[in-house]
């Protein structure tokens, strides 16, 4: 059998090939693979599978350098999500994914469907989602468009996760003009399961039926729809948007049905239909199982009449799954789906013949040999070269930048920094996320460096966090890549958890630009360095390239999603000072580094200098120290120093919980050689501020681990405010002013009528909220 064109299909021309994003070289490879001209349907299938998103054609060789193994890793990269064992027969599945471009076009639906997609990746592994995280990057909050994006993205994330009943517990948000026009919206999902319930998306068993379940297939998000068949030329159709609309209610039913299905023993594999929909899910399942498949598009439940095989294969309608059932169990599968009011239709079969075949009824419309459809995708090794500008930027002497007159009072600088949207409280955002559903959130957003979730039925808890400072990566990709992992690990350690493994989302620009590919390669190498040093292998992730705006690429942003384990949930440690009289101990060492700091960017508008150095061995010893001190019960609070440096970290320890502020009196006289601003606002890595009633013990523990440690002050009540002495300079700020600066900055900005966000709110018509 061989595929033949359908009547009415467009003729394959070089222009049509180009519109499908295939290069002449790739098209030749396709023709060689088929031994003939492809049909229109085949062209569509290959354009999707060989897209960067599905094929990793520019990134795979570099990704291969990442460490992926550890005794606790049950599933590394290559599946819908990574899985690690946490003991007690339990396992955690987790993955992060981007929805940057859809969110730039339609922030609400873009973000919502991003959440929906990553949830499906986790529950198709057999895990019940227990937590969501997100990592967001926007341009300056001073522009109305950015406020519109922020409002829509946050509402989209909230509405979807809230409706699903999965708490959104942590994340990070940064604002920088580099993300203007190209926001980043990365969502992470964490799920819990019994080890024995792990299921993989691998088609197996000749004769087993392939079943489409969940929502019906519509004409959503079909790429290149503009040049498709005749019925598309109708007036209304021409306007058809590419956005997909999420339906969290259907997803909730799909979640319950999928978990029931997996536990029922009636199926052998399940995979979500995400990017490139039915095409990529079926091709990937076949490739993993090394089998052939045949699919009849007339059997796929559709939402609209007259859909072509091309459209059915490429539709990105949400809330759908592809299932391989055991032969003879079709009825049971349908029964489970119908219990949850969802459709399930047998649409194909696993076959022995090594082909990927699509029919429309009895007519073959696409047929590819073997599993070469996925494996034959060309791989590229783009040129990588750091630009001269990048070198100049990094080597600029930032200490030469003159202080502003107002900076003579460091309290002014501190208050300004606390107002920087990147640093300021994100309460306006996470108060829109249900963070307590599932009654397991021990430490939710805003209370600790990472979120902590107890594991019901055990003493254990999980700690989860996303992190990345794209500015560091921009200035020095290798160091920035290391820091992203190290900071995520430090955050997880600060709540009392052993860092275990990461997932990552690599948001970069156009890889065909040598300076972008240089950033990509070096950042991944840096991540790999840190993952090896900190024993946190990579279990999966996602690559998002071509994040560009007219000014150029966004900051290279390799977002890290870290998972850690607490053996005892009672060790969960928050970030705020709690007890007047406690000693404040700084673990780690101050340095004279200012490069890449929020201080330079926000106060001076300068993004330059070398980012802080990253001593991975030192980070490991710091993490071990923090964990030892927490587990022995000596730590009341722990908070790492990141954007804004030591002064901001201390301020946050005082006022992060505005309902229960504390003060602190701190003496930094031990570092006379450092400039005041580097000491207060520099972002030296490897530092954690702890409060403790047993300072001597904590310092002794640090010594044992070879970590510098020093008592730098005392926790006081709120009335005393925050007072820091640095030898010559004195900083004094009332907690009220710090609270005002830190807690009101974002609400005040967002109150400035993100008018479209209010008036176009889809929920105004009474949708899920």
């Amino acid at each position: 059998m061989s595929a033949t064109p359908r009547p009415g299909d467009p003729v394959i021309t070089p222009a049509l090939v180009a519109e499908h994003g295939l290069t002449p070289f790739e098209y030749e490879k396709l023709v060689a693979m088929l031994g003939r001209t492809p049909t229109f349907t085949e062209l569509g299938v290959v354009s999707a599978l060989w897209s960067e998103h599905c094929s990793y054609k520019h990134s795979r060789p570099v990704l291969k350098t990442l460490p992926t193994q550890a005794p606790w890793v049950l599933q590394g990269p290559g599946e819908n999500a990574g899985v690690i064992s946490i003991g007690d027969g339990l396992a955690v599945a987790f993955k992060i994914e981007s929805h940057n471009h859809p969110s730039a076009v339609e922030p609400y639906q873009g973000a919502a469907t991003g959440v929906g997609g990553i949830l499906r990746d986790v529950f198709t592994m057999g895990a019940r989602p227990i937590a969501m995280l997100n990592s967001l990057r926007f341009g300056s909050l001073e522009t109305p468009r950015v406020r519109f994006l922020v409002a829509g993205v946050v509402k989209g994330i909230g509405d979807y996760g809230n409706c699903m009943g999965v708490p959104t517990v942590a994340g990070e948000v940064m604002f920088d003009a580099a993300y203007e026009g190209n926001p980043l919206v990365n969502a992470m999902c964490v799920g819990l399961m019994k080890e024995e319930e792990l299921i993989r998306a691998k088609a197996e068993g000749i004769g087993n039926p392939i079943i489409a379940v969940g929502a019906r297939t519509g004409r959503d998000g079909i790429h290149g729809a503009s040049f498709a068949s005749e019925d598309l030329s109708e007036e209304n159709e021409a306007k058809r948007p590419r956005v997909q609309v999420g339906d969290p209610f259907t997803e909730k039913l799909l979640l319950e049905a999928s978990l029931e299905l997996i536990r029922s023993g009636h199926i052998v594999a399940i995979q979500d239909m995400g990017a490139a929909g039915l095409t990529s899910s079926s091709a990937e399942m076949a490739e993993r199982g090394d089998v052939g498949v045949t699919i009849d598009t007339t059997k796929v439940p559709v939402r609209e009449a007259g859909m072509t095989p091309y459209e059915i294969l490429l539709s990105e309608s949400q809330e759908r799954m592809l299932v391989v059932a055991k032969k003879g169990h079709e009825h049971e599968v349908k029964k489970i789906l119908s219990k949850w009011d969802l459709v399930a239709e047998v649409i194909g079969e696993v076959i022995a013949e090594p082909v990927y075949r699509v029919t429309e009824g009895s007519k073959v419309v696409a047929e590819f040999p073997g599993t070469r459809l996925v494996t034959d995708c060309p791989q590229y090794h783009p040129e990588a070269k750091e630009s001269d500008e990048a070198v100049a930027r990094r080597t600029r002497d930032v200490h030469a930048i003159a202080e502003l007159p107002s900076e003579r009072d460091p309290a002014w600088t501190l208050e300004r920094l606390l107002q920087a949207p990147t640093i300021a409280s994100k309460h306006w955002i996470h108060r829109q996320y249900d963070s307590t559903v599932r009654t397991s959130t021990v430490l939710g957003p805003g209370h600790a460096d990472a979120a902590v979730l107890r594991v019901r039925g055990t003493k254990k808890a999980l700690a989860v966090k996303t992190d990345c400072n794209g500015r560091y990566v921009f200035l020095d990709p290798r160091v920035g890549g290391r820091i992203a992992v190290a900071e995520a690990a430090r955050n997880v350690a600060c709540v009392g958890a052993t860092p275990r493994a990461i997932t990552n989302c690599l948001n970069f620009g156009n890889p065909k630009k040598p300076e972008v590919f240089f950033q990509f390669r070096e950042a991944v190498y840096g991540m790999g360095d840190a993952c090896r040093a900190l024993e946190t292998p990579v279990t999966g992730g996602n690559v998002s390239l071509y994040n560009e705006n007219p000014q150029g690429a966004v900051y290279p942003t390799p977002t890290i999603g870290m998972v850690g384990v607490l053996e005892d949930a009672a060790h969960a440690t928050g970030l705020r000072f709690e007890q007047a009289g406690d000693a404040i101990v700084l673990l780690g060492e101050n340095s004279d580094e200012l490069g890449g700091s929020e201080y330079l960017a926000w106060i001076h508008g300068v993004v330059a200098g070398a980012p802080p150095s990253c001593d991975l061995d030192g980070e490991k010893r710091l993490i071990d120290t923090v964990l030892a001190a927490i587990r022995r019960g000596h730590v009341r609070s722990a908070h790492d120093c990141s954007e804004g440096g030591l002064a901001v970290a201390l301020a946050e320890c005082c006022i992060a919980d505005r309902a229960a502020p504390m003060g602190a009196t701190v003496d930094l006289g031990a570092w006379p050689a450092l400039t005041t601003r580097a000491l207060l606002f520099g972002e030296a890595q490897g530092r954690v501020v702890v409060s403790t009633a047993n300072a001597d013990t904590v310092i002794a523990l640090a010594k044992q681990h070879g970590v510098p440690a020093r008592v730098i002050g005392t926790v006081t009540d709120a009335a005393s405010g925050l007072r820091i002495t640095t030898g010559a300079t004195k900083l004094a700020a009332s907690t009220d002013r710090l609270i005002e600066a830190y807690h009101e900055a974002i609400p005040r900005a967002m109150a400035r009528a993100a008018a479209e966000a209010v008036t176009r709110d889809p929920a105004l018509a009474g949708g899920a909220k």
Binding site: R219, R240, F249, S317
Partner: protein, 85 residues
């Protein structure tokens, strides 16, 4: 200047998933309204605005819709009525 009351319908664009419409259709079927073929749920806005005449009122509301009230990516709008108050 006269005060006009302008009625506007904003509905999800055709072809896009309308989960709310589907949920309501299903619910109506469950309630026994089996003759219902389809339901779409949109927003109904009543805007009271000053204008020199009905035409000006309509033009101004059209601008409100395209600039703000309707989501250009997912929704269509329609001015249903313009009446002096």
């Amino acid at each position: 200047m006269t005060l006009f009351r302008v009625s506007v319908h904003i509905v999800p664009r055709k072809g896009l998933l309308d989960p709310q419409g589907k949920a309501v259709t299903d619910a109506l079927h469950t309630l026994g309204f089996s003759a219902v073929a389809d339901v779409h749920v949109g927003r109904h806005l009543i805007i009271e605005t000053q204008a020199t005449d009905a035409k000006a009122a309509e033009a101004s509301v059209k601008e409100m819709c395209s600039r703000l009230l309707a989501n250009p990516v997912t929704e269509d709008y329609e001015i249903e009525a313009v009446k002096p108050v």
